[in-house]
Symmetry: C2
Subunit: 241 residues, 2 copies
Protein backbone atom coordinates (compact mmCIF):
# COMPACT_ATOMS: atom_id res chain seq x y z
CA UNK A 1 0.00 0.00 0.00
CA UNK A 2 1.07 3.61 -0.49
CA UNK A 3 3.05 5.16 2.32
CA UNK A 4 1.67 8.66 1.87
CA UNK A 5 -1.46 10.69 1.11
CA UNK A 6 -3.04 9.97 -2.26
CA UNK A 7 -6.31 11.26 -3.68
CA UNK A 8 -8.09 11.89 -6.95
CA UNK A 9 -10.63 14.68 -6.79
CA UNK A 10 -12.92 14.72 -9.83
CA UNK A 11 -14.97 17.74 -10.79
CA UNK A 12 -17.87 15.39 -11.53
CA UNK A 13 -18.65 11.84 -12.63
CA UNK A 14 -20.20 13.04 -15.85
CA UNK A 15 -18.51 15.12 -18.49
CA UNK A 16 -20.10 16.22 -21.77
CA UNK A 17 -19.05 13.89 -24.59
CA UNK A 18 -18.07 10.98 -22.30
CA UNK A 19 -19.96 8.11 -20.70
CA UNK A 20 -20.04 8.12 -16.89
CA UNK A 21 -16.53 8.34 -15.36
CA UNK A 22 -14.95 7.55 -18.74
CA UNK A 23 -12.86 10.75 -18.76
CA UNK A 24 -11.31 9.66 -15.46
CA UNK A 25 -10.84 5.96 -16.25
CA UNK A 26 -7.13 6.12 -16.90
CA UNK A 27 -6.33 8.06 -13.73
CA UNK A 28 -8.55 5.90 -11.53
CA UNK A 29 -7.26 2.60 -12.92
CA UNK A 30 -3.66 3.69 -12.76
CA UNK A 31 -3.76 4.81 -9.11
CA UNK A 32 -5.67 1.68 -8.03
CA UNK A 33 -3.24 -0.60 -9.89
CA UNK A 34 -0.18 1.23 -8.61
CA UNK A 35 -1.40 0.55 -5.08
CA UNK A 36 -2.49 -3.02 -5.71
CA UNK A 37 -6.05 -2.20 -4.85
CA UNK A 38 -8.64 -4.71 -6.05
CA UNK A 39 -11.62 -3.59 -3.99
CA UNK A 40 -13.17 -0.14 -3.89
CA UNK A 41 -15.54 0.91 -1.10
CA UNK A 42 -18.23 3.20 -2.51
CA UNK A 43 -19.89 5.81 -0.30
CA UNK A 44 -23.29 6.78 -1.76
CA UNK A 45 -24.33 9.13 1.08
CA UNK A 46 -24.76 12.16 -1.21
CA UNK A 47 -27.84 10.54 -2.71
CA UNK A 48 -30.83 8.79 -1.14
CA UNK A 49 -31.10 5.49 -3.00
CA UNK A 50 -27.89 3.80 -1.88
CA UNK A 51 -28.50 0.54 -3.74
CA UNK A 52 -29.35 2.16 -7.03
CA UNK A 53 -26.45 4.59 -6.85
CA UNK A 54 -23.94 1.89 -5.90
CA UNK A 55 -25.18 -0.37 -8.70
CA UNK A 56 -24.68 2.45 -11.23
CA UNK A 57 -21.06 2.99 -10.18
CA UNK A 58 -20.41 -0.76 -9.85
CA UNK A 59 -21.65 -1.31 -13.39
CA UNK A 60 -18.89 0.98 -14.68
CA UNK A 61 -15.96 0.27 -12.37
CA UNK A 62 -16.34 -3.52 -12.04
CA UNK A 63 -15.81 -3.70 -15.81
CA UNK A 64 -12.45 -2.01 -15.32
CA UNK A 65 -11.38 -4.97 -13.17
CA UNK A 66 -12.12 -3.76 -9.63
CA UNK A 67 -14.77 -4.88 -7.17
CA UNK A 68 -17.09 -2.13 -5.93
CA UNK A 69 -19.21 -2.53 -2.79
CA UNK A 70 -21.43 0.01 -1.03
CA UNK A 71 -20.58 1.08 2.51
CA UNK A 72 -24.25 0.67 3.46
CA UNK A 73 -23.99 -3.09 2.91
CA UNK A 74 -21.59 -3.41 5.87
CA UNK A 75 -22.88 -3.63 9.43
CA UNK A 76 -20.35 -1.13 10.71
CA UNK A 77 -19.39 1.81 8.53
CA UNK A 78 -16.32 2.72 10.58
CA UNK A 79 -15.00 -0.83 10.36
CA UNK A 80 -15.68 -0.86 6.62
CA UNK A 81 -13.48 2.24 6.25
CA UNK A 82 -10.79 0.82 8.52
CA UNK A 83 -10.72 -2.40 6.49
CA UNK A 84 -10.50 -0.61 3.11
CA UNK A 85 -7.52 0.47 1.09
CA UNK A 86 -9.52 2.76 -1.22
CA UNK A 87 -12.82 4.64 -1.11
CA UNK A 88 -14.86 6.45 -3.73
CA UNK A 89 -17.26 9.11 -2.49
CA UNK A 90 -19.79 9.88 -5.20
CA UNK A 91 -21.61 13.10 -6.03
CA UNK A 92 -25.10 14.27 -5.23
CA UNK A 93 -25.85 16.76 -2.48
CA UNK A 94 -22.84 17.99 -0.50
CA UNK A 95 -24.85 18.99 2.59
CA UNK A 96 -26.48 15.57 2.78
CA UNK A 97 -23.13 13.85 2.28
CA UNK A 98 -21.30 15.84 4.95
CA UNK A 99 -24.13 15.44 7.45
CA UNK A 100 -24.12 11.66 6.98
CA UNK A 101 -20.32 11.42 7.16
CA UNK A 102 -20.51 13.14 10.57
CA UNK A 103 -23.46 11.00 11.69
CA UNK A 104 -21.44 7.87 10.94
CA UNK A 105 -18.31 9.30 12.62
CA UNK A 106 -16.31 8.96 9.44
CA UNK A 107 -14.81 12.43 8.94
CA UNK A 108 -11.86 12.11 11.36
CA UNK A 109 -11.36 8.45 10.54
CA UNK A 110 -11.09 9.03 6.80
CA UNK A 111 -8.78 12.01 7.34
CA UNK A 112 -6.46 10.02 9.60
CA UNK A 113 -6.29 6.99 7.32
CA UNK A 114 -5.63 9.14 4.25
CA UNK A 115 -2.89 11.16 5.99
CA UNK A 116 -1.35 7.94 7.34
CA UNK A 117 -1.15 6.68 3.76
CA UNK A 118 -3.47 3.77 4.53
CA UNK A 119 -6.43 4.89 2.45
CA UNK A 120 -6.64 6.13 -1.11
CA UNK A 121 -9.40 8.74 -1.54
CA UNK A 122 -11.36 9.17 -4.76
CA UNK A 123 -14.09 11.76 -4.77
CA UNK A 124 -16.40 13.21 -7.35
CA UNK A 125 -18.37 16.47 -7.18
CA UNK A 126 -19.88 16.43 -3.64
CA UNK A 127 -17.26 13.79 -2.80
CA UNK A 128 -14.61 16.27 -3.92
CA UNK A 129 -16.09 19.10 -1.86
CA UNK A 130 -16.06 16.79 1.18
CA UNK A 131 -12.31 16.25 0.73
CA UNK A 132 -11.47 19.94 1.01
CA UNK A 133 -11.13 22.39 3.87
CA UNK A 134 -14.85 23.12 3.98
CA UNK A 135 -17.96 22.92 1.83
CA UNK A 136 -18.33 26.72 1.60
CA UNK A 137 -17.94 26.64 -2.20
CA UNK A 138 -20.29 23.84 -3.18
CA UNK A 139 -22.89 24.60 -5.86
CA UNK A 140 -25.48 22.47 -4.11
CA UNK A 141 -28.68 23.54 -2.45
CA UNK A 142 -28.56 23.49 1.37
CA UNK A 143 -31.29 20.85 1.64
CA UNK A 144 -30.18 19.73 5.09
CA UNK A 145 -28.20 21.32 7.96
CA UNK A 146 -24.85 19.67 8.75
CA UNK A 147 -23.22 20.19 12.18
CA UNK A 148 -20.48 22.29 10.54
CA UNK A 149 -19.29 23.23 7.05
CA UNK A 150 -15.78 21.95 7.93
CA UNK A 151 -14.89 18.94 5.85
CA UNK A 152 -12.27 16.17 5.67
CA UNK A 153 -9.40 18.57 4.87
CA UNK A 154 -7.33 16.32 2.62
CA UNK A 155 -6.43 19.57 0.89
CA UNK A 156 -6.21 22.84 2.88
CA UNK A 157 -8.18 25.00 0.43
CA UNK A 158 -11.64 25.06 -1.19
CA UNK A 159 -12.82 23.59 -4.46
CA UNK A 160 -15.69 24.61 -6.69
CA UNK A 161 -16.60 21.56 -8.78
CA UNK A 162 -18.41 21.83 -12.14
CA UNK A 163 -16.79 25.24 -12.48
CA UNK A 164 -18.20 27.30 -15.34
CA UNK A 165 -17.95 31.03 -16.08
CA UNK A 166 -21.46 32.01 -17.01
CA UNK A 167 -24.65 30.26 -16.10
CA UNK A 168 -26.92 32.25 -18.40
CA UNK A 169 -26.80 35.35 -20.50
CA UNK A 170 -30.20 36.81 -19.72
CA UNK A 171 -30.87 35.37 -16.26
CA UNK A 172 -30.08 37.91 -13.56
CA UNK A 173 -28.98 35.39 -10.93
CA UNK A 174 -25.37 35.72 -9.85
CA UNK A 175 -22.62 34.17 -11.96
CA UNK A 176 -20.34 31.53 -10.49
CA UNK A 177 -17.48 34.06 -10.35
CA UNK A 178 -19.64 36.47 -8.34
CA UNK A 179 -20.57 33.72 -5.89
CA UNK A 180 -16.95 32.71 -5.42
CA UNK A 181 -15.87 36.33 -4.93
CA UNK A 182 -18.56 36.70 -2.24
CA UNK A 183 -16.91 33.78 -0.47
CA UNK A 184 -13.47 35.36 -0.83
CA UNK A 185 -14.78 38.48 0.94
CA UNK A 186 -15.23 36.37 4.08
CA UNK A 187 -12.53 36.85 6.68
CA UNK A 188 -11.36 33.24 6.92
CA UNK A 189 -11.76 32.44 3.22
CA UNK A 190 -9.18 30.13 1.61
CA UNK A 191 -8.24 30.11 -2.06
CA UNK A 192 -10.82 28.41 -4.28
CA UNK A 193 -9.83 26.09 -7.09
CA UNK A 194 -12.57 25.91 -9.71
CA UNK A 195 -12.40 22.51 -11.40
CA UNK A 196 -13.90 22.65 -14.87
CA UNK A 197 -16.04 19.71 -15.88
CA UNK A 198 -13.65 16.91 -16.85
CA UNK A 199 -10.89 18.19 -14.56
CA UNK A 200 -9.22 16.02 -11.90
CA UNK A 201 -7.04 17.19 -9.04
CA UNK A 202 -4.44 14.53 -8.34
CA UNK A 203 -2.97 14.55 -4.85
CA UNK A 204 0.24 12.54 -4.63
CA UNK A 205 1.62 13.32 -1.20
CA UNK A 206 3.15 16.80 -1.61
CA UNK A 207 2.46 17.06 -5.32
CA UNK A 208 -0.79 18.43 -6.72
CA UNK A 209 -1.43 18.08 -10.44
CA UNK A 210 -4.32 19.03 -12.70
CA UNK A 211 -5.30 15.96 -14.70
CA UNK A 212 -8.25 14.85 -16.81
CA UNK A 213 -9.57 16.52 -19.95
CA UNK A 214 -10.12 20.10 -18.70
CA UNK A 215 -8.20 22.59 -16.62
CA UNK A 216 -8.83 24.54 -13.45
CA UNK A 217 -9.12 28.16 -12.38
CA UNK A 218 -7.71 29.56 -9.15
CA UNK A 219 -9.45 32.33 -7.22
CA UNK A 220 -7.60 34.12 -4.45
CA UNK A 221 -8.34 37.12 -2.26
CA UNK A 222 -7.51 40.37 -4.01
CA UNK A 223 -6.07 38.72 -7.10
CA UNK A 224 -7.21 38.07 -10.65
CA UNK A 225 -8.23 34.50 -11.36
CA UNK A 226 -5.52 32.26 -12.83
CA UNK A 227 -6.03 29.51 -15.40
CA UNK A 228 -4.23 26.17 -15.03
CA UNK A 229 -4.21 23.85 -18.02
CA UNK A 230 -4.23 20.05 -17.83
CA UNK A 231 -0.87 18.75 -16.44
CA UNK A 232 -0.20 21.94 -14.49
CA UNK A 233 1.57 21.54 -11.16
CA UNK A 234 -0.35 23.38 -8.43
CA UNK A 235 1.54 21.90 -5.47
CA UNK A 236 2.03 25.40 -4.02
CA UNK A 237 -1.63 25.23 -2.98
CA UNK A 238 -0.78 22.63 -0.35
CA UNK A 239 1.01 25.41 1.55
CA UNK A 240 -2.28 27.32 1.98
CA UNK A 241 -2.63 28.46 5.60
CA UNK B 1 -50.93 51.19 9.95
CA UNK B 2 -52.13 47.83 8.71
CA UNK B 3 -53.75 45.60 11.33
CA UNK B 4 -52.51 42.37 9.83
CA UNK B 5 -49.56 40.65 8.16
CA UNK B 6 -48.43 42.23 4.90
CA UNK B 7 -45.41 41.40 2.77
CA UNK B 8 -44.08 41.65 -0.76
CA UNK B 9 -41.58 38.94 -1.63
CA UNK B 10 -39.72 39.70 -4.87
CA UNK B 11 -37.87 37.05 -6.81
CA UNK B 12 -35.06 39.57 -7.32
CA UNK B 13 -34.37 43.28 -7.59
CA UNK B 14 -33.27 42.95 -11.17
CA UNK B 15 -35.33 41.58 -14.01
CA UNK B 16 -34.21 41.35 -17.62
CA UNK B 17 -35.60 44.30 -19.61
CA UNK B 18 -36.21 46.53 -16.58
CA UNK B 19 -34.06 48.93 -14.57
CA UNK B 20 -33.49 47.97 -10.93
CA UNK B 21 -36.77 47.32 -9.05
CA UNK B 22 -38.78 48.91 -11.89
CA UNK B 23 -40.89 45.77 -12.44
CA UNK B 24 -42.00 45.99 -8.79
CA UNK B 25 -42.49 49.74 -8.56
CA UNK B 26 -46.27 49.69 -8.72
CA UNK B 27 -46.68 47.01 -6.05
CA UNK B 28 -44.13 48.58 -3.71
CA UNK B 29 -45.55 52.10 -4.05
CA UNK B 30 -49.11 50.94 -3.68
CA UNK B 31 -48.55 48.95 -0.48
CA UNK B 32 -46.46 51.74 1.08
CA UNK B 33 -49.06 54.37 0.19
CA UNK B 34 -51.97 52.22 1.39
CA UNK B 35 -50.27 52.02 4.78
CA UNK B 36 -49.22 55.66 4.91
CA UNK B 37 -45.59 54.71 5.06
CA UNK B 38 -43.13 57.49 4.19
CA UNK B 39 -39.93 55.94 5.49
CA UNK B 40 -38.43 52.61 4.51
CA UNK B 41 -35.75 50.94 6.62
CA UNK B 42 -33.31 49.12 4.33
CA UNK B 43 -31.40 46.07 5.59
CA UNK B 44 -28.23 45.57 3.50
CA UNK B 45 -26.87 42.58 5.51
CA UNK B 46 -26.81 40.24 2.49
CA UNK B 47 -23.91 42.23 1.05
CA UNK B 48 -20.71 43.58 2.59
CA UNK B 49 -20.65 47.24 1.60
CA UNK B 50 -23.65 48.54 3.52
CA UNK B 51 -23.24 52.17 2.47
CA UNK B 52 -22.87 51.45 -1.21
CA UNK B 53 -25.75 48.99 -1.25
CA UNK B 54 -28.07 51.32 0.66
CA UNK B 55 -27.17 54.23 -1.64
CA UNK B 56 -28.05 52.14 -4.68
CA UNK B 57 -31.50 51.29 -3.33
CA UNK B 58 -32.06 54.82 -2.00
CA UNK B 59 -31.29 56.25 -5.43
CA UNK B 60 -34.23 54.32 -6.87
CA UNK B 61 -36.82 54.38 -4.09
CA UNK B 62 -36.33 57.96 -2.88
CA UNK B 63 -37.34 59.07 -6.38
CA UNK B 64 -40.65 57.28 -5.89
CA UNK B 65 -41.38 59.58 -2.94
CA UNK B 66 -40.19 57.55 0.05
CA UNK B 67 -37.20 58.04 2.34
CA UNK B 68 -34.80 55.12 2.53
CA UNK B 69 -32.27 54.75 5.36
CA UNK B 70 -29.90 51.89 6.13
CA UNK B 71 -30.28 49.96 9.40
CA UNK B 72 -26.50 50.19 9.90
CA UNK B 73 -26.78 53.96 10.35
CA UNK B 74 -28.75 53.48 13.58
CA UNK B 75 -26.99 52.82 16.88
CA UNK B 76 -29.38 50.05 17.84
CA UNK B 77 -30.65 47.73 15.12
CA UNK B 78 -33.44 46.28 17.28
CA UNK B 79 -34.72 49.74 18.11
CA UNK B 80 -34.55 50.71 14.43
CA UNK B 81 -36.82 47.76 13.61
CA UNK B 82 -39.17 48.53 16.50
CA UNK B 83 -39.46 52.15 15.36
CA UNK B 84 -40.16 51.26 11.71
CA UNK B 85 -43.40 50.66 9.89
CA UNK B 86 -41.76 49.05 6.85
CA UNK B 87 -38.50 47.28 6.03
CA UNK B 88 -36.86 46.23 2.81
CA UNK B 89 -34.36 43.37 3.01
CA UNK B 90 -32.23 43.34 -0.12
CA UNK B 91 -30.58 40.47 -1.97
CA UNK B 92 -27.04 39.20 -1.93
CA UNK B 93 -25.98 36.12 -0.02
CA UNK B 94 -28.72 34.38 1.97
CA UNK B 95 -26.32 32.67 4.42
CA UNK B 96 -24.63 35.96 5.24
CA UNK B 97 -27.98 37.69 5.62
CA UNK B 98 -29.48 35.07 7.93
CA UNK B 99 -26.35 34.89 10.07
CA UNK B 100 -26.35 38.66 10.56
CA UNK B 101 -30.08 38.78 11.29
CA UNK B 102 -29.47 36.25 14.10
CA UNK B 103 -26.36 38.10 15.33
CA UNK B 104 -28.41 41.28 15.65
CA UNK B 105 -31.32 39.42 17.33
CA UNK B 106 -33.71 40.52 14.62
CA UNK B 107 -35.33 37.26 13.48
CA UNK B 108 -37.91 36.90 16.26
CA UNK B 109 -38.46 40.65 16.46
CA UNK B 110 -39.24 41.02 12.76
CA UNK B 111 -41.49 37.94 12.84
CA UNK B 112 -43.46 39.27 15.81
CA UNK B 113 -43.90 42.76 14.41
CA UNK B 114 -44.99 41.45 11.00
CA UNK B 115 -47.52 39.01 12.54
CA UNK B 116 -48.80 41.77 14.83
CA UNK B 117 -49.46 43.88 11.75
CA UNK B 118 -47.01 46.53 12.90
CA UNK B 119 -44.37 46.02 10.24
CA UNK B 120 -44.65 45.71 6.47
CA UNK B 121 -42.01 43.36 5.06
CA UNK B 122 -40.51 43.78 1.61
CA UNK B 123 -37.84 41.31 0.58
CA UNK B 124 -35.93 40.61 -2.58
CA UNK B 125 -34.00 37.46 -3.47
CA UNK B 126 -32.03 36.64 -0.27
CA UNK B 127 -34.48 38.92 1.55
CA UNK B 128 -37.29 36.76 0.19
CA UNK B 129 -35.58 33.53 1.28
CA UNK B 130 -35.18 35.00 4.76
CA UNK B 131 -38.96 35.57 4.96
CA UNK B 132 -39.82 31.91 4.42
CA UNK B 133 -39.82 28.82 6.62
CA UNK B 134 -36.12 28.16 6.03
CA UNK B 135 -33.32 28.93 3.62
CA UNK B 136 -33.05 25.32 2.40
CA UNK B 137 -33.93 26.34 -1.17
CA UNK B 138 -31.69 29.33 -1.73
CA UNK B 139 -29.47 29.32 -4.83
CA UNK B 140 -26.65 30.99 -2.94
CA UNK B 141 -23.28 29.60 -2.05
CA UNK B 142 -22.90 28.68 1.66
CA UNK B 143 -20.10 31.21 2.20
CA UNK B 144 -20.73 31.40 5.94
CA UNK B 145 -22.33 29.12 8.56
CA UNK B 146 -25.52 30.47 10.15
CA UNK B 147 -26.70 29.08 13.53
CA UNK B 148 -29.66 27.40 11.81
CA UNK B 149 -31.32 27.36 8.37
CA UNK B 150 -34.66 28.31 10.00
CA UNK B 151 -35.76 31.73 8.87
CA UNK B 152 -38.34 34.42 9.73
CA UNK B 153 -41.32 32.25 8.75
CA UNK B 154 -43.63 34.94 7.42
CA UNK B 155 -44.80 32.21 5.07
CA UNK B 156 -44.82 28.55 6.18
CA UNK B 157 -43.23 27.10 3.04
CA UNK B 158 -40.02 27.51 1.02
CA UNK B 159 -39.25 29.77 -1.91
CA UNK B 160 -36.73 29.39 -4.68
CA UNK B 161 -36.04 32.89 -6.04
CA UNK B 162 -34.71 33.49 -9.56
CA UNK B 163 -36.43 30.26 -10.53
CA UNK B 164 -35.42 29.00 -13.98
CA UNK B 165 -35.83 25.57 -15.58
CA UNK B 166 -32.48 24.92 -17.18
CA UNK B 167 -29.17 26.44 -16.30
CA UNK B 168 -27.24 25.14 -19.30
CA UNK B 169 -27.67 22.65 -22.09
CA UNK B 170 -24.22 21.09 -22.12
CA UNK B 171 -23.09 21.64 -18.56
CA UNK B 172 -23.59 18.47 -16.48
CA UNK B 173 -24.29 20.24 -13.19
CA UNK B 174 -27.73 19.60 -11.75
CA UNK B 175 -30.71 21.57 -13.02
CA UNK B 176 -32.73 23.72 -10.66
CA UNK B 177 -35.59 21.20 -10.78
CA UNK B 178 -33.23 18.40 -9.73
CA UNK B 179 -31.94 20.47 -6.82
CA UNK B 180 -35.45 21.26 -5.64
CA UNK B 181 -36.51 17.62 -5.93
CA UNK B 182 -33.49 16.63 -3.79
CA UNK B 183 -34.84 18.99 -1.13
CA UNK B 184 -38.33 17.50 -1.43
CA UNK B 185 -36.85 14.05 -0.69
CA UNK B 186 -35.95 15.30 2.79
CA UNK B 187 -38.29 14.15 5.53
CA UNK B 188 -39.35 17.58 6.80
CA UNK B 189 -39.46 19.27 3.39
CA UNK B 190 -42.17 21.86 2.77
CA UNK B 191 -43.58 22.78 -0.63
CA UNK B 192 -41.29 25.03 -2.68
CA UNK B 193 -42.60 27.98 -4.66
CA UNK B 194 -40.24 28.85 -7.49
CA UNK B 195 -40.57 32.56 -8.25
CA UNK B 196 -39.54 33.31 -11.80
CA UNK B 197 -37.51 36.46 -12.33
CA UNK B 198 -39.98 39.34 -12.24
CA UNK B 199 -42.41 37.49 -10.00
CA UNK B 200 -43.68 38.89 -6.70
CA UNK B 201 -45.48 37.01 -3.94
CA UNK B 202 -47.93 39.37 -2.27
CA UNK B 203 -48.93 38.44 1.29
CA UNK B 204 -52.05 40.28 2.41
CA UNK B 205 -52.98 38.63 5.70
CA UNK B 206 -54.60 35.35 4.64
CA UNK B 207 -54.40 36.04 0.92
CA UNK B 208 -51.41 35.13 -1.21
CA UNK B 209 -51.24 36.41 -4.77
CA UNK B 210 -48.70 36.09 -7.56
CA UNK B 211 -47.93 39.58 -8.84
CA UNK B 212 -45.27 41.25 -10.98
CA UNK B 213 -44.41 40.44 -14.57
CA UNK B 214 -43.77 36.69 -14.34
CA UNK B 215 -45.43 33.71 -12.73
CA UNK B 216 -44.42 31.04 -10.24
CA UNK B 217 -44.05 27.26 -10.16
CA UNK B 218 -45.04 25.09 -7.22
CA UNK B 219 -43.10 21.94 -6.29
CA UNK B 220 -44.61 19.49 -3.84
CA UNK B 221 -43.62 16.05 -2.59
CA UNK B 222 -44.72 13.31 -4.95
CA UNK B 223 -46.54 15.66 -7.31
CA UNK B 224 -45.84 17.20 -10.70
CA UNK B 225 -44.89 20.86 -10.64
CA UNK B 226 -47.73 23.34 -11.13
CA UNK B 227 -47.54 26.67 -12.98
CA UNK B 228 -49.21 29.78 -11.56
CA UNK B 229 -49.58 32.77 -13.85
CA UNK B 230 -49.48 36.40 -12.70
CA UNK B 231 -52.60 37.25 -10.61
CA UNK B 232 -53.07 33.65 -9.45
CA UNK B 233 -54.37 33.17 -5.91
CA UNK B 234 -52.14 30.75 -4.02
CA UNK B 235 -53.60 31.40 -0.56
CA UNK B 236 -53.94 27.65 0.02
CA UNK B 237 -50.17 27.61 0.57
CA UNK B 238 -50.63 29.45 3.85
CA UNK B 239 -52.20 26.27 5.22
CA UNK B 240 -48.92 24.37 4.72
CA UNK B 241 -48.10 22.35 7.87
Amino acid sequence: MQSYRQALLLSSSNCHGFSMLEFAKQEICSVLEKNNVKKLLFIPYAQNDYNKYTAKIKEVIDLWGFEVSGIHTYKNAEKAISDSKAIFIGGGNTFLLLKRLYEHNLVELIRKRVYDGDLLYIGSSAGTNAATKSIHTTNDMPITYPPTFDAIKIVPFNINPHYIEMESETHKGETRDQRISEYLEQECASPVLGLREGSILKVDNNTLLIKGVAGAVLFEKGAKKTEFAVDSDVSFLLKTQ
